[in-house]
C-alpha cells in the first residue's frame, strides 16, 4: 500500500560561502572522481613509482657507490625521459576528460549558471590535473633532495637549491602539460581525441625535432620539441651548462604555450551556450 506524501520545501538558513569555496568544491569533487578512474589511478601510481625508482637509482644507489651527488644529479633525475613520458600519460589519463566530458554531457550549463566564473571553472579543472601531474615530479624534484640531505648524500645547501629548482621546474612542467591537455580537452567532446592530441604533441614534436635538426644542421629547430624546451629551462634552474638551444627562447615558447592554451580554453568555455534556444 502506498503512502500519502506531501512535498515539503525547506528554506535555507545558512549564508552561501564565497568564490574560493565554490572553486575548491569543483576541484575537490574532480580529484575524488578523477583519481578513482582505473586508468588515471594506474598512470598516477606508475608515474610516482617511476619517480621513486629513478631517484633511488640516480641519487641513492649512485651515492652508495661513491658517485658525487650534485645539483646536476637531481637535474638528470627529474628530466629523465621516463618521468616526462609518464607525465604525458598522467595528463592524458586525468586531464583529457576533465572538460571534454562536461562538454559531451553538456554539464557546463550546471556550473556556469551558478555563481562560478569561467576563469574559476578552468582554474579548478587545471588544479585537478595539476595535482596529478605534480605527484609525478614530487619525489624526484621535492622529496628526493630532502631525503638525500637527511641521509647525508648531499649538504643542506645543495639539497635546498635542488628543492627550489625541482619546484620551479616541476611547476613549469605541470603548467605546460596541464594547460595543454585542458586546451585539447576543451576542443572536443571525446577524451580519447584529447589524449591522442596530447601524445602527438609530446612525442611527435620530439620525434620530428632531431631528424629535422640533422637535416638542416640547425640547433634552433630543437625548439619545436616540448621536451627539449623543458630541458633547456631545466638546465637554467639547476645551473647546468646549456647545450644546443637557448633557455630564453625555450622559456618564451613554454610561456606562450601556457598562455595560449589557457586563453583558448577560456575562449572555448565562454562560447559554450549555457542557455540554448
Amino acid at each position: 500500500m502506498g503512502t500519502v506524501r506531501q512535498p515539503t520545501y525547506l528554506r535555507r538558513e545558512e549564508p552561501l560561502r564565497g568564490r574560493f569555496f565554490r572553486v575548491w568544491s569543483i576541484f575537490a569533487s574532480g580529484v575524488r572522481r578523477g583519481f578513482r578512474r582505473p586508468f588515471a589511478l594506474i598512470t598516477i601510481l606508475l608515474a610516482l613509482a617511476v619517480g621513486v625508482i629513478t631517484t633511488i637509482f640516480n641519487i641513492f644507489v649512485g651515492g652508495l657507490f661513491g658517485q658525487e651527488i650534485t645539483l646536476s644529479s637531481f637535474f638528470q633525475t627529474l628530466t629523465n625521459p621516463a618521468i616526462l613520458v609518464f607525465m604525458l600519460l598522467v595528463a592524458a589519463g586525468v586531464g583529457a576528460g576533465l572538460i571534454a566530458d562536461d562538454m559531451r554531457h553538456r554539464s557546463l550549463t550546471l556550473y556556469l549558471s551558478r555563481p562560478v566564473t569561467s576563469v574559476g571553472y578552468v582554474a579548478a579543472k587545471a588544479s585537478i590535473v595539476g595535482l596529478a601531474l605534480f605527484i609525478a615530479v614530487a619525489f624526484p624534484g621535492v622529496v628526493g633532495p630532502i631525503v638525500a640531505a637527511l641521509l647525508g648524500y648531499v649538504g643542506w645547501v645543495t639539497a635546498m637549491l635542488a628543492l627550489g629548482a625541482g619546484l620551479a621546474f616541476g611547476l613549469l612542467a605541470v603548467g605546460v602539460f596541464g594547460l595543454t591537455v585542458l586546451m585539447f580537452s576543451s576542443l572536443t567532446t571525446r577524451k580519447g581525441i584529447a589524449a591522442a592530441a596530447m601524445f602527438a604533441m609530446g612525442f611527435a614534436s620530439s620525434g620530428l625535432a632531431f631528424p629535422l635538426r640533422n637535416l638542416f644542421d640547425a640547433d634552433e629547430i630543437l625548439h619545436i620539441s616540448l621536451y627539449e624546451n623543458l630541458l633547456a629551462v631545466g638546465r637554467l634552474v639547476y645551473g647546468v651548462e646549456q647545450v644546443g638551444i637557448t633557455w630564453q627562447v625555450s622559456l618564451a615558447i613554454l610561456a606562450a604555450i601556457m598562455v595560449g592554451a589557457f586563453a583558448v580554453t577560456l575562449l572555448r568555455i565562454r562560447t559554450v551556450e549555457v542557455v540554448s534556444g
Binding site: 520545501y9 552561501l16 560561502r17 554531457h105 553538456r106 549558471s113
Partner: protein, 301 residues
C-alpha cells in the same frame, strides 16, 4: 520588481537578437513566451549574466546584470531544457555537489540535497546514478539542483519538455507548489502555452527582440473580448429567442449562450431570465485560451 530591463540590446555581429527590450517584471510566476528567434534565450543569458548587453541596462532582484553577475547567479536557480546531468554521479551526489558549487557548506548541501530530492519525488532513487534515471526522473533531478541553494528566483526552461502526460502533470504540480512559496518568483520559458496558462500570473511575450505584449495573464486573456458567456437552468432555446426579441445578439453554444456585450445587456439578461422563469447559473466574460491570445498577438505584431 524582480526583473527590470531598460533598452536592452544585444547584437551578435549583424544579427540583432534583442532590440531595446524594456520591461518590468513583477514578483510571482511569470511566463516568457515568443516564437523561435524572438530573443528569449538571449534574454535569459543576459539575466544570468552570461552575456553582456551591447547597450541598455538590466537588473535582477536589484542587482545590475552587467556589474554583479555572480550576485545575480547566487540568487537564481536555473533548470535547463536540455539534458545536462553528470552521469557518473548519483542523484544525491549530483544535487549535493551543485549545492556546494553554489556555496553551500558540504553538510548543509547534503542535507538540502536529501530534502530537495524528497520534494521533487525521487528520494527513493537518490543513490542510483543519474545516467540510469528515466526522462521524468532526470527532469526532477534538474529541478532539485535548481532548488538546492534556495534561490529567490527560478528560471525554468521548458520544464515539461519530453515528459509523458502523467509526468507533465506531476511536474506542473511541483512547479505550482514552488510558485506558491512566499518570496519566490519564477520565470518559465516555454512553448507549451497551456503549462504557462496553468501556472503563471503574468506573461511577457517577445518577438523580434522586443516585448510585444505583457501583463496580467487574466487581463490579457480577457482583453478585447466583447462576449458574455452564460449558462441557465431552464429551456435554453426559448431563453435565447427571448433575448433576441429583447434586442440582444445571441449565439447558442450548448449548454452555454454567448451574448454580445453592450450597455445594459447584463440587466437585460437578468430581466429576461426573471420574465422567463429561468435561473442564471453562470455569467462571465468570454475568455480566450493563452494559445488564442498568443496567436492573435503574433498576427498583430
Amino acid at each position: 520588481m524582480i526583473i527590470e530591463a531598460d533598452g536592452l540590446t544585444k547584437r551578435y555581429g549583424s544579427v540583432l537578437a534583442l532590440d531595446g527590450l524594456t520591461t518590468q517584471i513583477p514578483e510571482g510566476p511569470i511566463g516568457l513566451l515568443g516564437p523561435n528567434g524572438a530573443g528569449k534565450t538571449t534574454f535569459l543569458r543576459l539575466l544570468l549574466g552570461l552575456l553582456r548587453p551591447t547597450t541598455g541596462r538590466g537588473s535582477v532582484l536589484g542587482f545590475d546584470i552587467r556589474a554583479r553577475p555572480l550576485a545575480v547567479r547566487e540568487r537564481i536557480g536555473y533548470m535547463p531544457e536540455h539534458d545536462c546531468l553528470i552521469p557518473d554521479l548519483t542523484g544525491i551526489g549530483l544535487v549535493a555537489y551543485m549545492g556546494r558549487v553554489s556555496g553551500l557548506d558540504p553538510n548543509v548541501a547534503l542535507g538540502r540535497a536529501h530534502d530537495m530530492l524528497d520534494f521533487v519525488g525521487v528520494g527513493e532513487e537518490r543513490y542510483r546514478k543519474v545516467e540510469e534515471y528515466s526522462m521524468g526522473m532526470k527532469q526532477r533531478a534538474k529541478l532539485a539542483q535548481a532548488l538546492v541553494h534556495d534561490p529567490d528566483l527560478f528560471l525554468f526552461d521548458e520544464p515539461t519538455a519530453g515528459l509523458d502526460p502523467e509526468g507533465r502533470t506531476e511536474m506542473l504540480d511541483l512547479l505550482k507548489l514552488v510558485s506558491q512559496m512566499p518570496e519566490k518568483s519564477m520565470l518559465i520559458s516555454s512553448h507549451l502555452l497551456p503549462d504557462v496558462e496553468d501556472i503563471c500570473r503574468h506573461v511577457v511575450i517577445l518577438n523580434d527582440g522586443q516585448v510585444i505584449a505583457e501583463g496580467d495573464l487574466q487581463e490579457l486573456l480577457g482583453e478585447g473580448m466583447n462576449t458574455l458567456r452564460l449558462r441557465i437552468e431552464g429551456d435554453l432555446g426559448s431563453f435565447a429567442e427571448a433575448l433576441r426579441q429583447a434586442g440582444a445578439e445571441v449565439t447558442q453554444d450548448d449548454p452555454f449562450l454567448q451574448v454580445a456585450r453592450s450597455d445594459g445587456v447584463e440587466d437585460l439578461i437578468f430581466r429576461t431570465a426573471h420574465a422567463q422563469g429561468v435561473q442564471v447559473r453562470y455569467l462571465g466574460v468570454e475568455a480566450r485560451s493563452l494559445e488564442d491570445a498568443f496567436l492573435e498577438i503574433m498576427e498583430g505584431a
